[in-house]
């Protein structure tokens, strides 16, 4: 079990409104989508076959939503290494097409110090054209058992 809550928040514990500096990922070429399909098992032809994408009403294969959602973890870890991500959720709003990149960022929207230091983060992933691709939220706890390795 992650030890969280037996100590007060550290002096530099973030405040509501603090921003998580944006980070870019991609561009995700079709080869990258094929590699993600291989490691995730998500071989939905929608992401790999242009004709399947067209049949679903898209101009081309979209990047796996889960690949984009996965980018929030390195964003949060780069921001602070003393956090346990207890919850991550995302709503997939618009597709990001193969060949495009994304930019993810976040903001602290809630802070709780007791009974344990906890933050709620609003997370967003935007496509190259600035469309909102994913609206996400994370709950992170102060991880007193030491920094993540």
């Amino acid at each position: 079990m992650i030890e969280a809550g037996m100590e007060p928040a550290p002096p530099d514990w973030p405040r509501v409104g603090d921003e998580i500096r944006g980070q870019s990922f991609g561009p995700f070429a079709r080869e990258a989508l094929a590699r993600y399909a291989a490691v995730s098992g998500d071989d939905n032809p929608l992401h790999l076959d242009p004709s399947a994408a067209r049949a679903a009403g898209l101009p081309g294969p979209p990047v796996h939503g889960m690949l984009i959602l996965s980018c929030f973890e390195p964003l949060i870890v780069r921001w602070r290494r003393d956090l346990f991500i207890a919850r991550l959720s995302g709503k997939f709003l618009r597709p990001v097409l193969a060949g495009e990149g994304i930019r993810v960022s976040g903001r602290v929207v809630r802070r709780r110090d007791v009974p344990r230091p906890e933050l709620t983060l609003r997370l967003i992933a935007r496509a190259q054209n600035n469309d909102l691709a994913i609206l996400g939220e994370a709950t992170v706890l102060y991880k007193i058992s030491g920094p993540l390795s």
């Binding site: 490691v39 098992g41 032809p45 996965s70 780069r78 207890a86 995302g90």
Partner: protein, 148 residues
């Protein structure tokens, strides 16, 4: 969603017959966080840390297991594609590399709107809940073009 090409493998008799809007529960599924699979997943998902940990979204790959992907296909039916609508992960404890876990899976199809909702509990061998996932898939009809 996952492993749509595995339909043939789903005919293993494990998936109970679904009824409208009734949840379908699969028998417990044993899985392992193999070091090779974890490293490959981390490599393709922009992992910022060194290895030795299981990425937060790694359990999504278990949706590609034949028993689960087959059930998804069975519930969706032909000429439709699942499109990911929402996803959540809730962790009680981090997963460890090279460890065994047990999945409990429940899938429900709703007709209005046409959705599949999957709930997956990831437990340790001792029965402690480690993580819970919820996946909502929108069911999209394919507009198949006639062959030219």
């Amino acid at each position: 969603m996952n492993a749509l090409h595995d339909h043939a493998q789903s005919r293993d008799g494990m998936a109970p017959e679904p009824s409208a809007d009734a949840p379908v529960r699969l028998p417990p599924i044993r899985v392992r966080t193999g070091a090779g699979e974890v490293a490959g997943f981390l490599r393709e998902t922009g992992g910022a840390r060194n290895g030795g940990f299981v990425p937060l979204t790694f359990p999504i790959r278990w949706m590609a297991l034949p028993a689960l992907s087959g059930l998804i296909l069975q519930l969706i039916g032909g000429d439709f594609l699942p499109v990911h609508e929402t996803q959540s992960f809730a962790y009680e404890r981090e997963l460890r590399v090279e460890a065994d876990y047990v999945l409990s899976v429940e899938v429900r199809r709703t007709a209005k709107p046409p959705r599949l909702t999957l709930k997956m509990d990831v437990s340790s061998g001792q029965g402690e809940i480690c993580a819970q996932l919820e996946t909502v898939l929108r069911i999209v009809p394919l507009n198949l073009e006639p062959a030219s």
